[in-house]
């Protein structure tokens, strides 16, 4: 008797489960699906993503978007999840990835992505985006992802009030940088604020130093094998970086970059080198007395990084993804996204009035500057190379051994198969 009852219970549970799953699948078949994988989880960037979704819904009300986001340190957790899913056999419909080698060396070379040449041609994007960015997203003569925004790496932020009080001007060269730094130091202000807790921030500063010492052409060559890492100018860049760090706050390894920015905000620090998301942070903190300039030696150079989305092979919802990519590259999509994200459009024809003062200045530079790729943010080198680069700079900051650091940088280039 008891057994009979147990069997009956099991069957009824199964029946209910079947009914539920049947009705669930019936519910979803009316909607087409789109899963968007990104690390934009909070703050302005999440608002910007929602704005994009809203635009998408206006155009395609029959699509159900699954917003799969994973936060964490500029995307490092997201990358682990993405790799596990791709290798485990469950690729998301489309995923956020930094433009350039991060996408190309990881996924394009592996044959996991589809080229987007037709889309670029049909939408005329090769006409409205600068050649510099088109170069970064190209490989073997094809386009591989759609850039939705542009961030700038080489920005020097300074406290206007402090600079005014002591009659200083933002430095254009490294010599001027050290003069300003000495002046600030004499007043008991930390000349150069740095936060290096997450490991990538020092690499970020160093890439801007490299760009400043070598100039755009030679800097670009470092990543293609045209400029040698044994070049004396690399030595000079290492020495310059080392000297800059002597002006940094002694607790830099305890701070994330925003902790360093807080010193600047409180007037305890003078200068900070960080990407243009700093602008959004200052705004969120209600701080207005900040100024900006290209980092020393990089006037006329735009060290760029860009968030892009691509088209993985073998996904279930190709149609909805194509619509998504079309929206991302469009004027409408980029204008909805970028003012909220605090970045500028990859296109050069966005409406300036939508952007704040800093972003308008970045838009001007984007039109006329030499565009070079950021390494620490995925554009210039494969991820294993970028990781080795980051580790080398971090160790160099602690030990200060120029020759060893230069050897390690050369070794990383060889390991990546770019240098012999």
């Amino acid at each position: 008797m008891a057994r009979m009852r147990a069997v009956r219970i099991v069957f009824s549970v199964l029946a209910v489960a079947l009914l539920v799953s049947a009705s669930a699948s019936a519910g979803t078949t009316q909607f087409r699906k789109l899963e968007v994988f990104s690390w934009w989880t909070a703050g302005g960037e999440a608002e910007a993503l929602t704005a994009l979704f809203d635009e998408y819904y206006k155009l395609h009300p029959d699509v159900w978007i699954v917003n799969a986001t994973v936060a964490g340190g500029a995307g490092s957790v997201a990358k682990a999840v993405l790799v596990s899913r791709m290798l485990g056999g469950d690729p998301p419909d489309t995923f956020q990835v930094h433009a350039g080698r991060e996408l190309i060396d990881t996924w394009v070379v592996a044959g996991k992505m589809e080229p987007l040449d037709d889309l670029f041609k049909a939408e005329g994007w090769d006409k409205v985006m600068p050649g510099g960015i088109l170069d970064i997203i190209s490989y073997n003569g094809h386009y591989w992802s759609v850039p939705v925004n542009i961030h700038r790496s080489n920005v020097l932020w300074y406290n206007k009030k402090v600079f005014q009080t002591y009659g200083l001007k933002p430095p254009r060269t490294f010599d001027e940088f050290f003069q300003v730094a000495d002046a600030l130091k004499a007043r008991g202000i930390i000349p150069f604020v740095v936060g290096s807790k997450d490991g990538w921030e020092l690499g970020h500063v160093f890439e801007d130093v490299l760009a400043g010492v070598l100039g755009p052409e030679a800097y670009r060559g470092l990543w293609t094998g045209k400029t040698r890492w044994t070049d004396p100018r690399v030595t000079q860049a290492l020495q310059t970086f080392k000297r800059m760090m002597t002006y940094a706050n002694s607790d830099h390894s305890a701070l994330t970059w925003d902790g360093a920015a807080a010193y600047l905000m409180e007037g305890k620090g003078g200068m900070l080198i960080m990407g243009d998301w700093t602008d959004g942070w200052f705004t969120a903190k209600g701080f207005k007395d900040y100024g900006w300039a290209p980092t020393p030696g990089t006037a006329g150079t735009f060290v760029a990084l860009s968030d892009t989305f691509g088209l993985p092979k073998g996904i279930k919802n190709r149609d909805t993804v194509m619509d998504w990519l079309r929206l991302l590259g469009s004027k409408r999509g980029q204008e909805a996204f970028n003012p909220k994200k605090g970045s500028i459009c990859a296109r050069t024809d966005c409406d300036r009035s939508l952007f704040n003062e800093y972003l308008r200045s970045a838009m001007d530079d984007w039109q006329k500057d030499e565009i070079v790729p950021s390494v620490i943010h995925g554009a210039a080198a494969s991820e294993s190379w970028a990781t080795a680069f980051k580790d080398t700079v971090a160790l160099f900051a602690a030990r200060g051994d120029v020759a060893a650091a230069q050897r390690a940088l050369q070794q990383a280039c060889e390991d990546a198969g770019v240098c012999r």
Binding site: A80, D251, S384, A398
Partner: protein, 318 residues
């Protein structure tokens, strides 16, 4: 013989043999009960370990699996890697500081709470509470608290408090000082887990019969001697159990390091688990990540297998 056996004895023998037959069925049942768990463990633990071990012997870099044989090359390169050498040293230091901290503080708190303290429940909850918080949050809070600040911008965190209560001498660079580095992270971990050790010891102390202490007292032992000669030896199984649980946390510690300090200045707070995450998922060096995992497992085996054998033996004697 048979004839002379009384009836009650026959009954007992019968019942025994019935029980024995039942026993063999029961043994089968016992093994069947273990079977699902054993199957799950052999797939999810041992097959995966084997997979990891295999990957560590290949040339797999990048996201396309590459099973070309590399032999022990990954291990050789790993042990030559400066970062990994630092990591191994850090793991030893972390384990030592974390274990000692938890055991000493946990024991001290247990002894104190064992003195019929008013509000014991409240104290106990306070000491256990950190366990409820995830390591990620612990990491962030401790990063702030142990942030030294700078002479120019003023001291912050613990240093500021020390200044305020006149103990400015104890100010330190904490984890930003490479000589301290990982020890500061171990401090945060000890804050989180020492309450657990306290609970274990408190339970142990309560389990020691009062007569034992009385007897020692009658023999003229001082309180300190009682703890040294009687109580601490009796608590040894608890200590060993705690060492195992804490040891596995310290070898696997990852979230805490990631949230609190990252790799630190010159890798002074880096640990193998963090390096493994970095190289596998940031650098896509799957072979190197797998090699680190295998080294970690070997270290665990060295630590735990003797303990397990010891426990089994000492139990067999009982």
């Amino acid at each position: 013989m048979q004839r002379s056996t009384p009836a009650w004895a026959v009954a007992v023998t019968l019942k025994r043999s019935l029980a024995r037959r039942k026993t063999s069925l029961d043994r089968v049942l016992a093994i069947l009960t273990l079977a699902p768990s054993a199957a799950a463990v052999s797939l999810f633990v041992y097959a995966f370990i084997a997979w990891t071990g295999f990957v560590s012997l290949t040339r797999w870099r990048g996201v396309i699996p590459d099973y070309a044989w590399a032999g022990l090359r990954n291990y050789v390169r790993l042990f030559q890697h400066e970062r990994f050498q630092t990591d191994l040293r850090n793991t030893v230091v972390f384990t030592a500081v974390f274990l000692t901290g938890c055991l000493v503080v946990g024991f001290l708190l247990a002894v104190l709470l064992d003195q019929r303290v008013a509000g014991e429940g409240l104290f106990r909850t306070v000491f256990l509470a950190p366990m409820a918080v995830s390591f990620v949050v612990t990491g962030v809070v401790w990063r702030w608290m142990l942030n030294p600040g700078t002479p120019e911008t003023g001291y912050v965190g613990i240093n500021l408090l020390l200044d305020k209560i006149g103990l400015g001498l104890l100010k330190s660079g904490w984890y930003t000082d490479p000589r301290i580095g990982i020890k500061a992270v171990a401090l945060a971990a000890a804050w989180q887990m020492s309450g657990y050790v306290m609970a274990l010891y408190l339970a142990g102390l309560r389990g020691i019969p009062e007569e034992l202490r009385e007897a020692a007292r009658v023999d003229g032992a001082t309180e300190i001697q009682i703890y040294r000669r009687v109580i601490i030896p009796l608590l040894r199984p608890i200590t060993l159990g705690a060492v195992i649980v804490l040891g596995h946390i310290s070898l696997k510690v990852f979230d805490l390091v990631a949230a609190m300090t990252g790799s630190g200045l010159g890798f002074s707070t880096d640990v193998p688990a963090y390096f493994m995450w970095d190289t596998t998922f940031r650098g896509n060096n799957f072979n190197q990540g797998a090699a680190i995992a295998v080294v970690l497992l070997v270290m665990v085996a060295v630590l735990i297998v003797p303990y397990l054998i010891y426990t089994m033996r000492s139990e067999a004697e009982i």
